[in-house]
């Protein structure tokens, strides 16, 4: 996906909502501290208030709280980019979203009707007519796409992905491709996820993916051999994408450029990982080919750090195999933020430049762990960085970007 200079696909704005707030600099300060264990509710965004971040407050009545988190991050990105409606042709502006599945909580407005009907589904047909008329719309997984397009007047190519852990990165990749193909001039792309509710946390635990919600604090422990599972983290990250020429015409300095991306899978079916998978290696190779780069060009790797041993082992193996020669430093955010699922692999774009000036121990892989050899210094002359994403479903993603700023 490398292009000439003026056609570089640049990240010009970023909006992120994490357990540490919405300010990237404050997030960075937290990430520099050792990751501490926290209670399950501390990984959720239950206390986050979307209202200040959503330009049309009426939307809050039409969407779920989870969607409000996603929309907040989208609007924060647009604001950060200084992107006003009309900056680009609406037909050349698009929104690409990685979203979670409809939540069971979206059907809560029906519960009163179901109670009134004494759980008689025949009578529910009558009592349901007293429910909120737009209940069905609450559960649309593409609400953030719809309302995001409304606030940005984005009428061009678009999509909404419910591909679980890879969703946000798929959105970013495909938005970039549409810009490269000149179907779009500008896009807002990202992902969001809020799985820290009793039902989802039970479900992921039942699938053997996450730790159970317990009464004691915990943290995600990637690459430590932890078999219990990942700690789910809630979050949302969106970014604005424009060609360099367009960004410069608007007086914007890019944060990064998107250079290449690829995904692969094991084709083993749901919730299965091939124990001998080379899926991540294949994704890395394909992304490097897409970016027209070699492994020696990569100055930094953000590991996915899923938090489930059978997945982490494969990731560690892939990094060791592919980067044995030059061993770029590895960073990982999942100890602090939890596994962000659909929102994973995105906020790293904002963190990459900061690591040049200071690479805190808190973000490095553990000493004596499987990635011990990847604890070196960042080479400021190697601006390309790689973001990896893994899943418990045997799916793998690799994004390659280049930082435009240092620190």
């Amino acid at each position: 996906m490398t292009t000439n200079h003026h056609n570089d696909i640049c990240v010009t704005g970023m909006g992120a909502v994490t357990r540490f707030g919405v300010n990237i600099d404050e997030l960075w300060e937290k990430l520099k501290q050792p990751a501490e264990e926290a209670m399950p509710q501390d990984y959720s965004l239950a206390k986050f208030k979307p209202m200040p971040h959503i330009s049309d407050r009426r939307m809050l009545k039409a969407i779920s709280r989870v969607d409000a988190v996603g929309l907040s991050a989208l609007e924060l990105a647009v604001k950060d980019a200084g992107l006003e409606k009309g900056a680009y042709d609406p037909h050349k502006t698009g929104v690409y979203v990685g979203a979670p599945a409809a939540s069971v909580y979206d059907n809560e407005p029906y519960l009163d009707a179901q109670r009134k009907a004494g759980n008689d589904l025949r009578m529910f047909g009558k009592t349901c007519m007293e429910s909120r008329p737009t209940t069905l719309l609450l559960g649309l997984p593409n609400n953030v796409l719809c309302y995001g397009a409304l606030v940005t007047d984005a009428r061009g190519p678009n999509d909404n992905y419910t591909s679980a852990d890879l969703s946000g990165l798929i959105a970013l990749m495909n938005a970039s491709k549409q810009i490269k193909r000149n179907r779009l001039e500008c896009a807002v792309a990202g992902g969001f996820a809020c799985h820290n509710d009793p039902v989802n946390s039970w479900m992921f635990h039942r699938l053997g993916i996450s730790k159970p919600h317990g009464e004691t604090p915990y943290k995600n422990r990637p690459f430590t051999g932890d078999q219990e599972g990942a700690v789910l983290g809630d979050g949302a990250t969106f970014m604005t994408l424009e060609k360099r020429a367009g960004a410069e015409a608007r007086g914007r300095t890019p944060l990064a450029t998107i250079c290449g991306a690829a995904m692969r899978c094991d084709a083993t079916g749901p919730n299965e990982v091939d124990a001998h998978s080379d899926g991540l290696q294949r994704a890395i190779k394909a992304a490097l080919e897409d970016a027209q780069l070699g492994t020696e060009d990569i100055g930094l790797i953000f590991a996915s750090g899923f938090g489930l041993d059978r997945v982490d082992q494969l990731e560690a193996q892939a990094i060791r195999t592919m980067f044995d020669a030059n061993k770029p430093p590895v960073a990982c955010l999942s100890q602090h933020l939890g596994n962000l699922m659909e929102a994973g692999g995105l906020v790293e774009v904002a963190i990459a430049p900061k690591l040049v000036a200071e690479f805190p121990e808190s973000l490095r892989p553990e000493k004596d762990g499987p990635l011990n050899a990847f604890r070196g210094a960042i080479d400021p002359q190697k601006p390309h960085f790689m973001i990896l994403r893994t899943s418990a479903w045997g799916e793998y993603f690799c994004l390659i970007a280049k930082r435009e700023q240092n620190g």
Partner: protein, 411 residues
Amino acid sequence: MKKRRVVVTGMGAVSPLGTTMAANWNGLIEGRCVAGPIKRFDASEYACQIAYEVEDFKLDTGLILEREKRYLNHAGEFAVTAAAEALQQAGLKNDNQDRKGVTFGVGMGCSDPEFYQNVFIDDNFKHPCLDNHIRHFPNQISSILARMSGAKGGITTVHTACASSGQSLGEAYEQVAYGDLDVVLTGGTDSMVHPYYLAGFGLLGALAKRNEDPRTASRPFDKNRNGFVLGEGACVLVFEEYEHAKARGATILGEVCGYGVTESAYRITDLHPEGRGPIEAMQMAVDDAGIRSEQVGYVNAHGTSTPLNDRIEALAVTKVFPQSTRLSSTKSMTGHMISAAGAIEFAFCLKALEHQVLPPSINLFEQDPEISANLTPSTPTDHAMDYALSNSVGFGGSNTALVAGRIPHDD
């Protein structure tokens, strides 16, 4: 990068018309309407009591692994069955797995009502019904399809409501056309014949109000239409790069020539009154195909039979295409298959081109005088055409258009 040609080498379908692509096409041409009172649950107290349900369907459990059973709801079973048919027809070898992918459209998925009773109302998190709740993860179906096809090039699950499979086909087309992959298993599946969805669509006023006469309830473009009727099912297609297909001697069923996708950015459920969104999507698809609009012989409309959608969509069609382009909606025969609609309707376009036949417009008793589009006759009609186009429009504002072409011959 120069775009590569994309052809279709396999198709499979499960719908109320039948459980194979052939049965679906035959039912369509016969103008068969199988709508009736809902049998899956007692809907006698609901505002809308009718649907198009898939009947006489039993999953061949040999298609799935034991460990996959827990992940399959109705929609999943439909998808697996349609995928098996498509893959058998395509006859792909299990090589170059990195160059094969899955891009699939899915629906909302919903736990059984007993889940809500036991978990939300009775607060019982240990109830066994929770295990069934696992079935509504949206990407499980795509994951099983990847396992069935040996596709290791990546899995993309798309959800934009009624535009889901239109967008999944469009993305699959682009993945092959631009060289990301050589083969993509694509399509969509859905099954919303469920109390919560019947309630939901009913509350929105979107469902037809002809319980007494289910077989004429879905009447796209008719003056007295008053809503859509839920259907269900799946359609799966194999998209393949043309030279790749020729080299292995694949049977080519048609071509995917162009794709257009837009966002109305208007309202979550309503189309813009001037057709903004669909107009641009259709024009984009025609331009992408490198053809003129008058070369399109037939448009398969989204055509839900709602007063607003049909009028505005027909207006949009007349703004893009001349009167020589015929229009119909096949939802009067399949019901509204929601996330599966775009895929099966594109398949119908391919079949129409293969047989040079226009699908009939059934239940068109009196064309809405506000609709000037040239609708197809009430019986199947021979019609020489090289291209057809399939429209899909979704809640949330996504609009897709896909141009289908006849089986290509070497230049």
